[in-house]
Structures are given as C-alpha cells and as structure tokens.
C-alpha cells in the first residue's frame, strides 16, 4: 500500500522537486549575473554616495543572494513549505535586528541629568 502524506482536507502542492532538471544555460546565466553584480558592488563602493553606499551594497547583495537561493538552491522549483521556511528565517532575523535596535537607536533620547 503506497502511503504518502495524503491530506484530503487541504491540498498541499505535490511537487516533485527532484524531477525538475534546470537547464545548464540557466545556471550559467545566473553565474554570469552574480559575477557582474560582484564587480558592480566593488565599483559602487569606490563612489561616494554617502548614506546610500550601504543601501546599494545591501541591495546588490540581496539581489545576488536571491539568485543563489532561487536557482542554485532550487527554491524556485521547491514546495511552498520550503518557501515558508526561508521567509521565516528572514522574518526572525528581522525581529532580532529591529527590536535590538529599538534600544540602541533610542538610548540617546533620554537625558539622565
């Protein structure tokens, strides 16, 4: 009797991620894009954009990271559950960063006489 996680009440997408073969050309395109972005971020750091240097650097890094996760790590072809896992990671990082910063950004607001 073949038993998989059959759920009559809710329909979970039943992907077979392993059966999707990504074409070599797509991998090469992603690789090339990542290399270009690396060069771009090095170049952007040599330009004085003031406060926007960090923004540009992080945007490029996030773009690169997204490509790695979607294509090299096959998230594009994976289940919804995997996607939720990745989003959870980002969300929890966000909690740790932002709530810690509520302390550090507002300490100077008080004056202690």
């Amino acid at each position: 009797m073949t038993v998989t996680n059959f759920q009559p009440a809710t329909q979970e997408e039943h992907f077979s991620p392993e059966s999707h073969v990504v074409p070599v050309s797509l991998y090469v395109v992603i690789w090339a894009t990542l290399m270009v972005c690396t060069a771009l971020t090095v170049f952007a750091a040599s330009v004085d954009l003031g406060i926007f240097n960090i923004v540009v650097a992080l945007v490029i890094a996030t773009f690169k990271g997204t490509l790695v996760v979607l294509f090299f790590m096959h998230l594009r072809y994976s289940t919804k559950l995997t996607m939720i896992t990745v989003i959870a990671a980002l969300f929890w990082l966000f909690i740790m960063f932002s709530l810690s910063m509520t302390d550090y950004l507002t300490r100077a607001w008080s004056t202690y006489g």
Binding site: M1, V3, N5, F6, Q7, P8, A9, T10, L81, A88, W92, I95, M96, L99, S100, T102, D103, Y104, L105, T106, R107, W109, S110
Partner: protein, 543 residues
C-alpha cells in the same frame, strides 16, 4: 500488589533485541526516549542536590554553611542544570520522542539516526558541563552576565559555556526532527485539524528550538572567545557593550521558557480531554495559541533588562509586547477549564497533576504579568518575587506536567501500571511541598529580599525556614515516583493497550508497542478527541 510476577511474552521494543550495543546504537525513537529518560532523571537529581544545598544554607540568616563564592556556584549550577539539562529536554526528548511518531501513525521520526546523535550530543554536553562543575564550578549565574563572566570571574566559565553550547545542538536536532516529522510523516487522513494538541505544542516548541537556540550558541561562543582571547565585544573597558550580551542571551533564553512550557501544555491538553471524557473546547484556538506563544515569545526578551540600562522607550515597547504574550496562555487555561465543564471527570493521578498545573501555572503566569509592568518590575526585579514567579511556572507548571505525562503514558512506555494509591500520595506531597516552598518567596520578594544572596536580614528567616521545610516535602514527593516506577517495571500489573480509554493513535498499539509501531499504516477517519463516540468503560488502575 500483584502476588505473582507477570511478564510480557509478546515481542515489543524493549525485549526485541538485547545487549548494551542494541541500546547504545539503537535508532528506535522509543529506545532513544528511554536513554533520555535515564540521563534527564540523573541531571534532575544533580540539579536537585544543588537546590538542597541552597535551601539548607538559607535556613539561617548568616552565610554559615558555605562561603559566598560557593553559594554563587550553587545557584549557578542549579540553574544551568535545571534549565539546560532538565527542563528544556524533558517533555520533548522523553515523552515527545516516544509518543509523537505513534501519534502521527509513523514508524519512527523523520531522521532516526539524527535522533540518536541528538542524545549523544546531549550526553557530551552534560559531561562537559558537569566536569566544569566538579573541577571548580561556575559562579556567574545561569545567565552568564558580562563582563563578570568574560573578565572577572575566576571559575570554569568556558567549560560550562561549552557544555551548554554542545547540548544546544541536541535541542536543535530534536526540534528539527519534530518539525519535519509532523509535516511529512503523518498517516493518511491525519490532517492538521485532527492532529493531537500534544503534537501542536511540541511543534511550536520545536520552532523555538530551531530558531532561538543558535543565537545562544553563538553568544556563548563569543563569551568563551572573549574570555580566552581577551577581546572586548562585551567588555565596556574595551569598548564593548555588556547589554549586547544580554540582548543576545535573552533573545534565546526568553523563548526558551516557552520551549520548556509548551510541551507541558501539550501534555495537559491530552490529559484534560481524556479524563473529562470530552473533546477539547476550542481545539483550533488551543492549537493556534501554541503557535502564537512561540511567535510572540520572541519579541519580549528585554523585559529581563528593564533595569539594566536599556533605553526606556525600548523598555516600553517590550513591556507592552510582554502583556500580549500572556493572552494565548490564558486562552489555553480558559479552554482547558471549558473542556472540563460538564465533563465526566476522573481523578486518576495524571488528572491530579493536570489540576495542579492549571492552578499553579495560572498563579505563575499572573505574576509574570506583574513583572511585565515596568513600574512594578523596578521594585521586584532581582528579588525573590522573580524566583517565586519562575518556579511557579517551571516547577508548579512544567515539572507537574512532566510528571503528569510520565504517569499518563507510563503504561504505554513500560507495559505496566504504576500503583495508583502511591502515585496519588506523591502528587499530593508535591503539591503541598511545592506551595510551601515557593509561596513564601513571593512574600519575601515583595518585601525586598534580594535573590542570589547567601545571607539575609533576620526578618526573612521565618519565611526561609518555611520554604526549606516545603522543599523537603517536595523532595519526598519526587523520590516516591522514582521508587514506584522502578518497582512497577517488575511488579506492576500488565497494562492493556488503552488503560485510560483515550482517543489517539498511540493507544491503538499494544503496551509496550512493537519496534515498528504499527503493523499497517493506520488511516485516520475520525476527528481529534472524538470522546463522544467512545464507550464509557472502566479504566484500568494499577495497585
């Protein structure tokens, strides 16, 4: 008492293979649960020994039994062992490991070898920490605040920190295993809405284990590096911020308390429904409340830091969020109560512990709300009020839930019934002993008695003596189950598959179950806690 020794003839997970190697190299989740049971019980008694030393010292106002340095080590080691080596693994590693695959109708957890590895990692961490304790101890408190822990303490901080670091991975792997199992290994027909609440609670706790534990791991690693290399990440003299340590430490350690309590709440859900012969009131709410506790638990950590020097605006945010986190816990208490209303209540030992849990957890939880209030916390922070609060939720709540679960599933685990009369007596002793130990501490703390002091002003002596007296009663209440559980392994009545007439897949296997759990994968066609269609039969009770 059974006059003749009965033995289980049928093959089950306990007798299917023999020899030490078959236990130490097992991948059977039920055997691994038993390995954990032995280890965790040992750690409980070691932690309890330190508690006994603390209570003995506090019989008199002077610091006369031990020096203040030694006293610092005693409460530190008591806290470290009880939190990291007993409470966090207790229900998940012992009961969860055993019961969850059965509850979802699977033959094992998703990753059985990782499960075994998890136990070995736990043992390595425990031995490392115990070695640090035996060779000199650690005196920083279980909270390892910097710069004392990184710079000024002369004790085995690195050893203890490494021991906890290692054991953290055991927790992470267990959590990972649970999450994957519950997502991927449910039997056909077992939808999320039919999943036992014990699984929901352990799933929520597993989320916290997986998301939070890595942060304390890196934090303790930084403490060890700072101590070893004298770098200044947390040391104000070298430009660091000691509060950063506290932020990172409590980012895990606050959710950790929900790792500890959520599985216990899961146990209570199972017991209340079974011993009221009624399905859980508001099943969806209880399930979602578990998830809500897990998520909200991550955004309240700085309520441990209200007087540490954080920005008052940040403190306001955390105070407000801390009020919110109490709401899902309250939802659960209301729903358990509503489950019992117009139910057919039976008072076997698991239910007695469940009653104890609901009452004592409520008191502990309410006092948590007092602590969440900024103004009140300024007054009672670092006093015995806090100590009483967390012992009410952890011991009055969590340990009672653990005892409840052990009693409830003991027939399944061992194939034997424990002696009901002795068990009821123990439950009573635990309840009386617990309240006598810890209620005076609320009063003491509110009157200003600071925590972590080995000497105190004489006006607190009466309350302290009362507390120590209660502790000795409590100890008896814990020793008795050790004895009668062991006794029952040989002399207890043989247990039927379903002594409590409970609803759930684990009760559809023999007691104890065979190694492969189910001969055929079950197909679930009933709703959770379908007690209405259960026949009203007599339960089996051990003598």
């Amino acid at each position: 008492m059974a006059t003749a020794v009965q033995t289980v003839e049928r093959e089950n997970y306990l007798n299917s293979t023999y020899g030490i190697k078959s236990w130490l190299l097992t991948t059977d989740h039920k055997r691994i649960a038993m390995l954990y049971l032995v280890s965790i019980t040992a750690m409980f008694w070691i932690g309890g020994f330190f508690a006994m030393m603390i209570r003995l010292e506090l019989l008199t106002p002077q610091g006369d039994l031990v020096s203040s340095d030694t006293y610092n080590k005693l409460f530190s080691m008591h806290g470290i062992i009880m939190v990291f080596f007993f409470l966090i693994p207790s229900v998940p590693a012992v009961i969860g490991n055993f019961v969850i695959p059965l509850m979802v109708g699977a033959k094992d957890l998703a990753f059985p070898r990782v499960n075994l590895l998890s136990w070995y990692i736990y043992m390595l961490g425990a031995i490392t920490a115990l070695t640090a304790m035996v060779t000199g101890g650690v005196d920083t408190g279980w909270t390892f605040y910097t710069p004392f822990s990184t710079t000024y303490s002369n004790t085995h901080v690195i050893g203890a920190a490494i021991g906890i670091f290692i054991t953290g991975f055991s927790s992470i792997l267990t959590g990972l295993n649970f999450i994957v199992t519950i997502h991927r290994m449910r039997a056909p027909g077992l939808t999320w809405r039919r999943l036992p609440l014990f699984c929901w609670s352990n799933y929520a706790a597993a989320l916290i284990m997986v998301l939070g534990t890595p942060v304390i791991a890196i934090t303790l690693l930084l403490v060890a590096l700072e101590r070893a290399f004298n770098i200044g990440v947390f040391n104000p003299q070298l430009g660091g911020d000691p509060l950063l340590f506290q932020h990172l430490f409590w980012f895990y350690s606050h959710p950790a308390v929900y790792i500890m309590i959520l599985p216990g709440m899961g146990v209570i859900s199972e017991i209340v429904t079974c011993f009221s012969r009624k399905r859980v009131f508001g099943y969806e709410f209880v399930a979602l409340a578990s998830i809500a506790i897990a998520v909200l638990g991550f955004v309240v950590w700085a309520h441990h830091m209200f007087v540490a020097g954080i920005s008052v605006y940040s403190a306001l945010v955390f105070s407000l969020l801390s009020y919110f986190v109490a709401i899902p816990s309250a939802v659960k208490v209301f729903n358990w109560t509503a489950t019992m209303y117009k139910g057919s209540i039976r008072y076997e030992t698991p239910m007695l512990y469940a009653f104890g849990f609901i009452g004592l957890f409520t008191i502990g939880g309410l006092t948590g709300i007092f602590l969440a209030s900024l103004g009140l916390d300024v007054h009672v922070h670092d006093t015995y009020f806090v100590v009483a609060h967390f012992h009410y939720v952890m011991v009055g709540g969590m340990v009672m839930a653990y005892m409840a679960g052990l009693h409830f599933w003991w027939p399944k685990i061992s194939g034997r019934m424990y002696p009901e009369a002795w068990a009821k007596l123990s439950a009573l002793l635990v309840f009386v002993g617990f309240n006598t130990t810890f209620f005076p501490q609320f009063i003491m703390g509110y009157m200003g008695a600071p925590r972590r002091y080995h000497a105190y002003p004489p006006e607190f002596q009466v309350l302290n003596v009362l507390s120590t007296a209660g502790a000795s009663i409590l100890a008896v209440g814990y020793v008795l189950p050790m004895i009668y559980f062991l006794w029952s392994l040989r002399y207890g009545e043989l247990a039927p598959p379903n002594p409590w007439n409970a609803v759930g897949l684990e009760w559809m296997t023999p007691s104890p179950p065979p190694t492969h759990n189910f001969d055929e994968t079950p197909v679930v066609t009933w709703e959770a806690y379908d007690y209405e269609s259960q026949p009203q039969e007599e339960v089996t009770v051990g003598h």
